[in-house]
Symmetry: C2
Subunit: 344 residues, 2 copies
């Protein structure tokens, strides 16, 4: 089959590899119907050395079940399924607590498993991981359903961990797909004021469509000052950080109100950051977040996607074929595209 690999920064190739096969009785083989390129795929696209490659790419997909292992009883050939970006058994104490990303039997679609920017994927822990969708779903809904695999659930995780509630004030840092869907999620949870920090007008316009009440294009100290102006000098109760770079963390510290919460879902590209008296401690600010256990949210978010109440699939603004995946990376890297959908 054909599958996408990254060889080093800037070098993405689609190549022939052998078809995936059932390796464990808990596996399933899923034929990919839709996959996509993630903002987090751009981190290795910028920095990966040739010594670390090639690695299989892609961790978001919808597909149809082709084959299941002997211990997978709830799925059968032909089922349309969505897969969260982290597989998990969905039965251990961490999964039961809604923290599927810490499942001891879980992991990520990566080297040793295979990527989703491919014709087919082997899914470990398939019974716990895959969520069955209605078989007769309108093809127009596929992009929105695909966001349940990562970006929607990740944006939702940011808002959920910040305990966003009706009437709340929220700042969202970052106008990528996750930031925009953090806006949508904050709106769904009842936030009254949603300030989106981003500087790409087409994206922030989509953010307004999803529920942002204000847009701040400035960054750094100027951006912080603008948010403080908008909030009577106080900042917002919640700040959802969907970038992952240290300046975004610093903007979060600058825009959160005393007693508030910074919720991070942008994968941190730093190890140490300010947490002392002058940043988090003095104003009793809480720092939370992490890789989203999106499996925990799929059943909850699914109905409003199926009935069209929300359309998170609007984050996809370009479609490529699997063979064109390298072009998808290039377009996202150049910010020509917000998020690229990949069809077989």
């Amino acid at each position: 089959m054909r599958a996408t690999f990254m060889y080093e920064a800037g070098d993405v190739r689609v190549q022939d590899i052998s078809d995936p096969v059932i390796e464990q009785p808990t596996d399933a083989i899923v034929r990919v119907v839709r996959s996509c390129v993630c903002g987090s795929d751009l981190h290795p696209y910028h920095t990966m050395s040739a010594a670390d490659g090639p690695v299989p790419m892609g961790h978001e997909f919808l597909g149809t079940v082709e084959e299941v292992g002997s211990e997978v009883s709830a799925l059968r050939r032909g089922d349309l399924v969505v897969a969260p970006f982290a597989f998990a058994d969905n039965t251990c104490e961490f999964c039961r607590a809604g923290l599927h990303t810490s499942c001891p039997n879980g992991g990520f679609f990566a080297a040793g498993i295979g990527g989703a920017q491919a014709e087919a994927v082997r899914v470990p822990q398939a019974q716990g991981t895959l969520v069955k969708l209605p078989g007769d779903v309108d093809e127009k809904l596929l992009p929105s359903l695909l966001t349940l695999a990562d970006v929607y659930g990740t944006g939702y995780h940011a808002a959920h961990q910040a305990r966003v509630k009706p009437g709340d004030s929220v700042t969202v840092i970052g106008d990528g797909a996750v930031g925009l869907l953090a806006v949508l999620s904050a709106k769904q949870l009842g936030a009254e004021r949603i300030i989106l920090m981003g500087r790409h007008k087409s994206r922030t316009d989509l953010g307004r469509y999803f529920g942002a009440t204000d847009v701040v294009a400035e960054r750094g100290e100027q951006g912080i000052a603008k948010v403080r102006d908008l909030t009577g000098g106080r900042g917002t109760r919640a700040v959802l950080e969907a970038v992952g770079h240290l300046p975004a963390y610093e903007m979060a510290v600058g825009t959160v109100r005393p007693g508030g919460v910074i919720s991070r879902v942008g994968v941190p590209q730093y190890d140490d950051a300010p947490v002392g008296f002058g940043s988090l401690f003095g104003p009793n600010v809480t720092l939370t977040g992490g890789p989203a256990p999106v499996r925990a949210y799929i059943e909850q978010l699914l109905p409003d996607v199926l009935n069209g109440t929300v359309d998170p699939g609007r984050v996809f603004d370009r479609t490529v074929t699997l063979e064109q995946t390298p072009e998808g990376y290039r377009a996202m890297d150049q910010r020509e595209a917000l998020k690229v959908l990949v069809t077989p």
Copy 2:
């Protein structure tokens, strides 16, 4: 009157100053009945330069109201009161949210206000700050009532911010007065497993009395390994950090379970700390805490102190007179005393 000043590291003096007077209509003058030396007073005792001194010391006290300003209607001369270490108006949006330490009209007993290791104190925002106690209270209860001014409320804040609940597992880092009262607070909130990390047997024995189920004397990697051994390799859901030095933070990161909470009340003696994928983000660990808004907890904690259900005053293991306050600092610094009570 006589009052205590720190001139520089290691140099504490009791000297004559003029009596405090009402400066604002919201002030009260309180004659000190009991005060004490705080673990946080030892930070300047170790590091303060002569250029920064002299500064008035002490921020925990019980006293009797001597005089009130014209806007203080709820207190009168002779009332026995307890003062939280941070004064606050108790009416603003932050106070109403239980975050008195962020009150825009609030502040700390320090230079410009005066300290509590003195015969009397001027209390700003007296109506919002001071909590009246029964006038006929048994003198034996005074030490426990005094802990409501800081260390009990601070230990309680650690457990409260970590949302400790019945059945919970908790690690407490630090066997100082705050750590021990964090143990007591976790116990009050229903924690089932309370692991106290500390290496002074007389203190950890008191910790066991307050509710610790396990004591770990080891520090660093060894201490982390011991806590993990005790918890099936997972760590505890909550970690209450009552020290403030970076190695204590690192122990917190090492002993918290995925999805858990690190709640800090030890004043951080560092600015930056690990918060990246390998420390907080990857396991979805929440970092919370800050200076305790003890005013928010006094009414709630008071009944069990008055009826003897809890006796947090056991943290005082030495009593000195005001004139002997410098000896109190020395004894705490040398760890001869856990916490020193100061009588007039």
